[in-house]
């Protein structure tokens, strides 16, 4: 329930903050001992007018995924220009200021869009430059505005509580709400903030929109500066950072996120009104000034808490631990049958969100669904295990002291296990003993890793290619074929960390290359040779870095373990993206599951074949994983079954 409401913070945040502040405002007579008069509303709205256009200006850039620090510079420049050019005609002053604001905004927006440069440092520089410009224009002094008619006009009361200034500010919000809420332009702006790459692909002219948003932001900020200067009958060359910070607070309370793509002008309106009312409450109740600051800190603290993914995880972990304590077993239901103690019962659970079916392992890899059970390797407890689909009936199938990884079965049902560090493939005989099936130590240039075995008992075995855990530089490597008699042949080379592999019904071998940003496909010839090599899916260019972490930084999908579904979709665990992606030939990602933890391998299984099992662990660092038993097996319900 709470989670569902949290899911829309762009509605929740402004509604709650405005309601809270309104309650505070309504009950302020309790503290001040004086009933609220229309004058209080007028004053609060004046406060709103002072901040409003600035908050709207920064807010719309935030919706589009940018952050325009320069608005406070444009605000100062707008006020100064209006005062210096609008003495005779206030309208002319406004026009000059707004035109200048729009021009500055369009220039820096164009630069940001064209160079694809982060907006914060650019707008910070613009802010400093604009401040300097405003200083230069005024000689560093406040400039008075001699047109007292205009000063009186902007602040005259309208209908008791409004002024032309607050009405103009309100109408700016309404226009923004109409444009952003009801037009294609508005949808595009939100889409740009949400996923810029996708917007570009979808044909949105992102560059022009971004430049436009900055132009509008500049114009709004400059207009706000004009209104303030006319109202105060003077322009201040340096308003300091405070207006900017307050505008950002208003936008954040308004449900806008710095991540972009979220928020509405009406939310911004509610956020700005909250800030203005709060300031006014503190003023009329004569609370000390610092209470305003502590209130802002508290409100922002709530925002930080709501929006920190790591905090959510920590809370979820705590809660999970709490639940575990009350449970007899380490397992939980995932659908299908589960027996808890002496009273078996059947429970169907929806698995749109991941469930933990088993936990307390070192580092899980190579999950396989076979004969109604899920098989997998645990790197750092050196065991191959199997369990029922709900995580019950856990069995140790084999102990592999040199670290087990890829699993597969010969046509006669004997289990093959990759032994990583000694680079061997082991075979489990019917009596349970392990024998060496093949020795790759003269072939593989790194730890042997994942493996897929075809219907004729031919195993395709990948290896690291370099010393991953020792921090060596990246090297491409070969994929080896182990024939049923144990003979080892190089099947393909030039692979960047060949990892999860699957065989399709059309006798194609798909190999996920963790550091290659791609999936490579081969046709398996009759003699087991790999022919017709091609890129099956490409997520990005080959990394240019040769150190592990920088190279991982260049990889869009660090594909680890993978499994195939019946409609040709390849589920890949993205080792650095904390996600599982379903990829189809050509590289399109059709589905993405974010289980909230890093995942390293996956398998489709369960009675219906629609349970996607995923091996989760906090990281893949050997020392850390040996030290703590934190790996888990997750289960997620998906639409298309596996084989």
């Amino acid at each position: 329930m709470i989670r569902r409401r949290m899911a829309r913070p762009d509605h929740l945040m402004p509604t709650v903050s405005l309601l809270l502040v309104l309650v505070g405002f309504a009950s302020s007579p309790l503290l001040s001992g004086r009933a609220l008069a229309p004058f209080d509303f007028y004053n609060a709205l004046q406060g709103f007018a002072q901040l409003g256009l600035l908050a709207l200006a920064i807010g719309i850039t935030m919706i589009a995924g940018e952050f325009d620090l320069s608005v406070v510079g444009t605000y100062a420049l707008g006020g100064m220009l209006a005062v210096q050019t609008g003495a005779a005609s206030p309208i002319l002053g406004v026009l000059v200021a707004v035109a200048a604001g729009a021009a500055v905004g369009a220039l820096q927006g164009g630069l940001i869009a064209w160079l694809r440069i982060p907006s914060m440092p650019v707008t910070l520089a613009t802010y400093i430059a604009l401040l300097g410009l405003t200083y230069t224009m005024s000689g560093g002094l406040s400039r008075t505005y001699p047109n007292s008619e205009a000063t009186l006009w902007v602040d005259q009361t309208v209908a008791g509580v409004f002024s032309p200034r607050s009405l103009l500010t309100l109408s700016a919000f309404l226009v923004a709400a109409l444009v952003l809420g009801g037009t294609r332009l508005g949808r595009e702006v939100r889409a740009i903030g949400g996923d810029r790459r996708a917007s570009r692909v979808a044909g949105v002219n992102v560059d022009r929109r971004v430049a436009g948003i900055f132009a509008v932001s500049g114009a709004l900020a400059a207009f706000g500066g004009c209104l303030l200067a006319y109202s105060y009958a003077s322009a201040n060359p340096d308003p300091g950072l405070q207006p900017l910070i307050l505008a950002a607070v208003a936008a954040l309370l308004g449900g806008v996120s710095l991540a972009g793509g979220r928020g509405t002008p009406l939310g911004l309106l509610a956020g700005t009104l909250s800030v203005a009312l709060l300031t006014h409450i503190v003023a009329i109740t004569a609370l000390p000034d610092f209470s305003t600051q502590l209130l802002y800190a508290a409100l922002l603290g709530v925002i930080v808490a709501v929006e920190s993914p790591g905090l959510h995880e920590a809370v979820a972990r705590l809660r999970a631990r709490h639940v575990e304590r009350d449970r007899p077993h380490r397992t939980s239901a995932t659908g299908g049958t589960r027996s808890t103690g002496p009273h078996p019962r059947t429970k169907e659970t929806s698995m749109t969100t991941p469930t933990t079916v088993a936990e307390g392992f070192g580092f899980l890899e190579a999950p396989r669904w076979r004969s109604g059970r899920l098989w997998f390797s645990d790197f750092y407890t050196y065991r191959v295990m199997s369990m029922a689909e709900d995580g019950s009936d856990l069995r140790v199938e084999a102990s592999v002291p040199e670290q087990p990884s890829g699993l597969g079965w010969l046509p006669d049902g004997r289990l093959l296990i990759v032994s990583m560090r000694d680079r061997k493939v082991l075979r489990r005989e019917p009596d349970g003993t392990l024998v060496v099936h093949a020795d790759l130590s003269g072939h593989a240039t790194g730890y042997a890793n994942d493996m897929v075995v075809d219907g004729r008992g031919r195993a395709y075995v990948g290896n690291f290619g370099f010393d991953l855990m020792g921090g060596a530089a990246l090297e491409p490597t070969a994929l080896h074929r182990v024939d049923p008699d144990g003979r080892v042949t190089e099947a393909a080379d030039g692979l960047w960390f060949p990892n999860g592999s699957v065989l399709t019904p059309d006798n194609e071998l798909l190999v996920v290359e963790t550091f290659g940003n791609r999936v490579t496909a081969f046709d398996v010839a009759d003699d087991g040779g790999l022919v017709n090599r091609r890129v099956w899916a490409e997520f990005g260019p080959l990394p240019t870095e040769r150190e592990v972490v920088p190279a991982l930084a260049q990889v869009r999908v660090a594909g680890d373990g993978a499994c195939l579904d019946r409609q040709g979709g390849l589920w890949i665990a993205d080792a650095t993206g904390d996600r599982l992606v379903r990829v189809v030939e050509g590289g399109t990602i059709t589905d993405e599951i974010r289980p909230g933890t890093p995942v390293y391998a996956c398998a489709l299984g369960g009675t219906s074949g629609t349970t996607l099992y995923a091996c989760a662990a906090p990281d893949f660092h050997a020392d850390a994983r040996k030290a703590a038993q934190e790996a888990r097996m997750l289960a997620i319900r998906v639409a298309v079954p596996g084989f």
Binding site: F67, L133, T136, I245, P288, F290, A297, A553
Partner: protein, 309 residues
């Protein structure tokens, strides 16, 4: 990569040559007194900027609570003068480290947004500062702080502290595992975490060091002004960010160095000094500083992106 690198080098060389030409033809620029003045004006902002470099390299962007933290350190420093200078310095530094490291913890462990978090922390710090000070300036109870205003070998003590801080920061960044890992965290946080780097701890270390630097600036500001009000920190927040950016550290993290930040701070001071000596107003000095930041930000961005494609 090589071509755009060369471009940037050429641009930088031309800029420095123009500056040099302007400088040597400026009356009174080439004097020991002026060099001292430049260094002295660099010191306060420079110390904070060197600390901010670690935060930016580590990928947690910037702090918008810098002035406020410096202010509260300054207030504590002056208020505890009665306990003796070493105690007062210790109180101020510990306060700066703890306050800032806590923010680093929320960012490193909870992945809190640094901008939102530091705005909140800024409000909380200023609110608490005005609460405790009652909104009135804090005056020292003893004169021990005067030692911080001394000028050994005609240079303010703060300049020596700036140089020492830069050396230490550079050593952390280049000479220790922590520093090298910090670059990787800034480069790609998800990949660093996946590779098992202690992302949370590294972030806290970077912020704690930053807090130490901010508190040192705060103590020097307090000693210099001999009293502290809630506005003492002034424009420190943005001045420090500007120096880090002009030093060529990328806002997105993963690139930069403490020595370059020192260079950035000195460059800003030199340009302001040349403009001042040539009779330009404060406005022009600020304007040129803004354009300089803009030019460097664009150059750094071009170099990093063109280099990768």
């Amino acid at each position: 990569m090589r071509r755009s690198n060369r471009w940037c080098r050429v641009g930088l060389a031309i800029l420095l040559l123009v500056l040099l030409a302007l400088a040597v033809t400026t009356n009174r620029f080439l004097s020991l007194d002026n060099a001292r003045a430049i260094l002295a004006s660099t010191a306060f902002v420079g110390i904070t900027a060197v600390g901010a470099t670690l935060v930016m390299i580590g990928g947690s962007a910037v702090s918008l609570a810098t002035s406020q933290t410096a202010t509260i350190a300054a207030m504590l420093f002056l208020a505890t003068q009665g306990l003796g200078l070493p105690t007062a310095v210790l109180v101020a530094l510990v306060a700066g480290v703890v306050l800032t490291a806590l923010q680093g913890a929320a960012i490193g462990f909870w992945h809190a947004n640094p901008i939102v978090l530091t705005i909140a922390a800024g409000f909380a710090t200023t609110g608490a500062a005005s609460w405790f000070s009652g909104g009135t300036p804090v005056y020292p109870t003893a004169k021990g702080y005067d030692i911080l205003n001394t000028t050994p070998a005609s240079l303010p003590l703060a300049v020596y502290v700036l140089l020492a801080t830069t050396v230490v920061a550079q050593w952390i960044l280049r000479g220790t595992t922590t520093g090298r890992q910090l670059y990787l965290v800034g480069e790609n946080r998800a990949a660093a975490r996946a590779a098992g780097l202690p992302v949370g701890r590294l972030t806290v270390i970077a912020w704690a060091f930053f807090g130490l630097c901010v508190a040192m600036t705060g103590t020097f500001l307090a000693a210099f002004n001999t009293s502290a009000t809630v506005t003492l920190g002034g424009t420190l927040t943005l001045d420090a960010i500007a120096a880090v950016l002009v030093g060529g550290t990328a806002i997105a993290g993963g690139r930069g160095s403490a020595v370059r930040t020192l260079g950035g701070a000195v460059l800003i001071a030199v340009i302001s000094d040349v403009l001042l000596l040539r009779g330009y107003s404060t406005g022009v000095q600020i304007l040129v500083k803004g354009l300089l930041v803009l030019a460097v930000v664009i150059a750094v961005h071009l170099r990093s992106t063109r280099g990768r494609r």
